[in-house]
């Protein structure tokens, strides 16, 4: 499963059809070991031009039973097309391959140059200028995503704040491992739920790691697997969750920016006008979700599904989210 030889032939056949008979596939390399999707980097040397490309493919070319949240590759490709048309910076999709074809369920997109590693983006001199622009870039990108009319979109799961509380609470209770801080977060979120916003297209995992950043700022928004119809504040707050600040806690937006500046850019680009205090509820939900996700990953060890040390050890990260939740509770009411 997932060896390069298996896909080099159909990929070459596609390159011939798309770029002409003289096209050659070069440097095919698996990038991620992700269980959900394969990601391959490759180049096509065509007469007169070279193309840097990415293949996103279901493991072995066959979509497994998917988690209820993740959208299909074809949906992801359709979203890249729709968001690109709306002016959001995303990779251009060149080809979508259906299940059962030689290439298997997959799509090909252009490879955008830049960095995805959060620690490098926040630390390296190369991204010094980018860091001054990222806050505004992210606000504008999110406003662009949230403004896309949902009526013409490919079908997406619908998940509002209340749905997510119900879902993650059921998972948490199923583990039978009571944790008072998580319990307090569930109770507080339910007691203080904001009135729902008009549902929009939500990226669902908009944070460093899933964004390509070059020396000028945001170059592309990747990983649309968790896209859904939901509340726009979910995306804004997820970028603020301390787990995604990579040690730079003092900068609430992704470890690089201040929230008022991002909210200004978001509103100036056509998004709704939110205050930092309106993001608190969603950031608490975000930290709570990530805490439960760590418990889910640990449970793969506990049940024997994945006996690795890594899965066992991730259970000792739940407390990171607990301290983030406590810091958020202590800060409530401090923001304007």
């Amino acid at each position: 499963m997932g060896n390069g030889i298996e896909i080099e032939k159909p990929l070459t056949a596609w390159a011939h059809a798309h770029f002409g008979a003289g096209a050659r596939v070069e440097g095919l390399k698996r990038l991620s070991g992700g269980a959900s999707q394969e990601t391959w980097a490759f180049d096509v040397a065509a007469p007169g031009a070279a193309h840097a490309l990415i293949l996103r493919r279901a493991p072995g070319g066959v979509a497994a039973a998917r988690s209820s949240e993740a959208v299909s590759l074809a949906t992801e490709a359709a979203l890249l097309g729709a968001t690109s048309k709306a002016g959001v910076r995303v990779p251009e999709v060149l080809h979508v391959s259906a299940p059962g074809t030689a290439l298997g369920e997959s799509f090909v997109m252009r490879r955008v140059a830049g960095e995805t590693l959060g620690r490098k983006i926040l630390r390296d001199d190369e991204y010094k200028t980018a860091r001054t622009r990222l806050t505004r870039d992210c606000g504008e990108a999110l406003a662009g995503i949230h403004a896309i009319p949902t009526a013409g979109l490919v079908e997406l799961p619908r998940s509002l704040g209340e749905d997510q509380i119900t879902k993650y609470e059921a998972i948490y209770r199923g583990f039978g491992m009571p944790r008072p801080v998580l319990e307090l977060a569930f109770a507080w979120l339910k007691a203080n739920a904001p009135s729902p916003a008009r549902p929009v297209l939500v990226h669902g995992d908009f944070r460093l790691g899933n964004l390509i950043v070059d020396e000028n700022g945001l170059a592309a928004v990747l990983d649309w697997e968790l896209a859904h119809i939901g509340d726009p504040r979910e995306d804004i707050a997820w970028l603020c969750v301390n787990s995604w600040r990579f040690g730079h806690s003092e900068k609430r937006v992704g470890g690089f920016g201040d929230l008022p500046e991002m909210l200004d850019a978001y509103a100036a680009a056509g998004g709704a006008r939110y205050t930092p205090a309106e993001i608190d509820w969603w950031e608490i939900l975000g930290s709570l979700k990530w805490g439960v996700m760590c418990m889910i990953m640990y449970s793969a060890y506990k049940t024997g599904a994945d006996p690795s040390v890594e899965r066992a050890a991730i259970g000792r990260r739940v407390s990171e989210n607990e301290i983030d939740l406590i810091n958020l509770f202590e800060g409530l009411g401090r923001h304007a």
């Binding site: 008072p180 806690s249 066992a312 990260r317 407390s319």
Partner: protein, 123 residues
Amino acid sequence: MHDAPSAKELIEAVKAFIDKTAAPQLTGHAAFHARVASNALATVLRELEIRPVAEAEEKARLDALLGTTGDSTNALNAQLCEAIRTGQMDLSTAGLLPHLKSTTIAQLSVDQPGYSGLRSAAR
């Protein structure tokens, strides 16, 4: 039962073996997992040192908060969760948030002492 070598000494010896002998000979995924394994042993060493006192303090706070004595820490935490779930306790309950904060700081001092949120909490 005797303890020569102690649990602490045995874990330190295994950790040193991973760090100094095994890990340098590994590459790729295996090298990554060796680092994770070494970190897991470091967690156990911190736990051996911190848990006895931290858990006694946690239990004393839980007894005060819940007005109980004699139950195990696990049972007390289950009771606390129930009180929070049913709305008998919330953010306005005197002593609740300070208790949770102290407990979580102790837990993180074992689990991830370098985590940024721990520094924020100490401020």
